[in-house]
Symmetry: C2
Amino acid sequence: MKSTNRREALRIGAALGGGLLARAEEPRSLGTPLSGYGERSRFVKSARTTRVTKTPEAGSSATPLAETYGIITPSSLHYERHHAGIPDIDPAQHRLVIHGMVERPLTLTVEEIRRLPSVSRIHFLECGGNSGGEWQTKNQPDVQRSYGLASCSEWTGVPLRLILDEVGVKPGAKWIIAEGADACKMQRSVPILPELDHAMLAYGQNGEPLRPAQGFPLRLLTPGWEGNTQVKWLQRLYVTDQPHMTRDETSKYSDLMPDGKARIFSLPLEAKSVVTFPSGGQKLPGPGLYEITGLAWTGKGLVTKAELTFDGGATWTEARIDEPRFPRAFARFRLPWRFEGKPVTIASRATDETGYVQPTREQLIAARGMNSGYHFNGIKFWRIGADGSVTNVETA
Amino acid sequence: MKSTNRREALRIGAALGGGLLARAEEPRSLGTPLSGYGERSRFVKSARTTRVTKTPEAGSSATPLAETYGIITPSSLHYERHHAGIPDIDPAQHRLVIHGMVERPLTLTVEEIRRLPSVSRIHFLECGGNSGGEWQTKNQPDVQRSYGLASCSEWTGVPLRLILDEVGVKPGAKWIIAEGADACKMQRSVPILPELDHAMLAYGQNGEPLRPAQGFPLRLLTPGWEGNTQVKWLQRLYVTDQPHMTRDETSKYSDLMPDGKARIFSLPLEAKSVVTFPSGGQKLPGPGLYEITGLAWTGKGLVTKAELTFDGGATWTEARIDEPRFPRAFARFRLPWRFEGKPVTIASRATDETGYVQPTREQLIAARGMNSGYHFNGIKFWRIGADGSVTNVETA
């Protein structure tokens, strides 16, 4: 081990009040035996918060971002957005039909898809409506309810391009209508663009089959595009020359602009970040050493920089990002920081490999107005009071 | 989308018997509502296989490697090796004591540790006894029971070096005795070597707190070293000038050599690989296209190459490895392959960044004899019969 000077910088003992404590010897007995499928500790109670419509089958549930570590979201805590509940699908009965403007229409079973050349990659998913409340001034109180419609997993599946090459896409075909097997047969029109080369027919999530809430046994994965295009319980790909203007690309997931026109098919998610600690609803126990941490992501490749401000954006300090980084995946950033017990407002901003810098909320509103509930990626502030309590604020 | 010639190579329709099938329209009703903590599909039943001693609290359970995808092992399926069961620890009561040959002994709570600068990284863990049965000719029938004491997760924790710098390791200190809070107070002596710079005090696993079976609320993580050194339920680090020759580094996890001497403290795990599909106990449904896949890993950095042989090792074909690769993590390799319905024996071998090539079983036995049950990393063959059934064999 090489020695460093971190000791002086951190002063853990002084900062945390640690010391050599006598430790009571506890009576010891044998613990729990081995098991086939493990569970978490009874002391861990993180859960998704749900927001439903008139029926509990339609709505969303949010990942507890302040209680997750690293970049992998536990599958049990991956955000949900369902339009007609989670179908109970027997994978042996499920089929994927690929038809329309193709030379050789095809029906595949899940077993057949699993036999094909596959790939595993780590990618985030984000609902187009994530942090939509931030357009308004009445925000959700914490990072889970405001930013929790974003999660990140290792996905395994067959490259979509391989399947499209197999069926032979006809000249003039420009769109794919993807359809789910849920009760509403949720559909989205997906453009055949170069970015679709990243797409896969995913059957695996974090090492096991997709969870039902994320599309078991098969979903379309379109890394970097808004979550709703990543159709779950995928049963049909209809290749055609135009979008079908389905419910979820017209009445939803489109942005009403100040001039009354709608911005639609804005699929690639732009660079975004949020501090998860300290964040709204938390309370720092007192002055001292902490690690500020958060997540940054972009639908357009790699996050190249994550920065933090403590003065309302006048100056920025670069945070460390865990390596390696993955295109179209969460990036975990960290910065050691000492809370002095005085009020302070903090925010993060991400830069991606295209050079795009996450805008301020004011810049977003200037460009798109206040009518939209979707695609918010403005810089996000949290205010820390003198007593350590953290609240959601729009600006420094 | 750019077109490729894969269509010709794969001939999915012909290979899989696919075609455009009429699909019965099913009655549709709303599915399951949103939930706080998700579960897997009732159609997914993968489980760890357990092997116990006279008491169910001591033994091991193995990851179903043939049923996992990518490189992340679901935490519920991570292998277990317990010596006195899983303790039920309240994290608010848990303490880590660091003492011995240090300038400033320290006791830390879990909350204090979580406030320190942390890092998240993907690493495999492997029991030193994994695939120990392969030394003998009576093998386990499948890859789970023969190779399943290896798993891979995203781990989050505080670099051990940071803590050692803080307490100030005294001159002459060369070992750390790590102790768990299980009923047997499992101990291992860990040498203070440059490789220990990769070590961390881990509190997170795959995005959530460590699972109890993997050491909740705190474990020592020593990436690349055998699993037993990565002490779970970590409660003590005693810094000293010599190893303590504990039970698990003398009676266990050491190799009895042909000359009667023991090879001990052979901590870094050497390059290893295994084909997980097709593997023992599986049956290919018939001739046609398949993707051979498997896992390679090394305790000494990156896997640089994974190769497959179909002729007993006379010739080798390089497989594709999913990118990016991580040091001291699983690497997932893949190779499209056509089963002709004739008997064939397959095996994989890994090469790591040091240039080390996974040896044959015969080479291992020549070097270490047959008395050892630990640290087997020989090339592993599976025999596929004309009927597609796969069995465990020692050689081609």
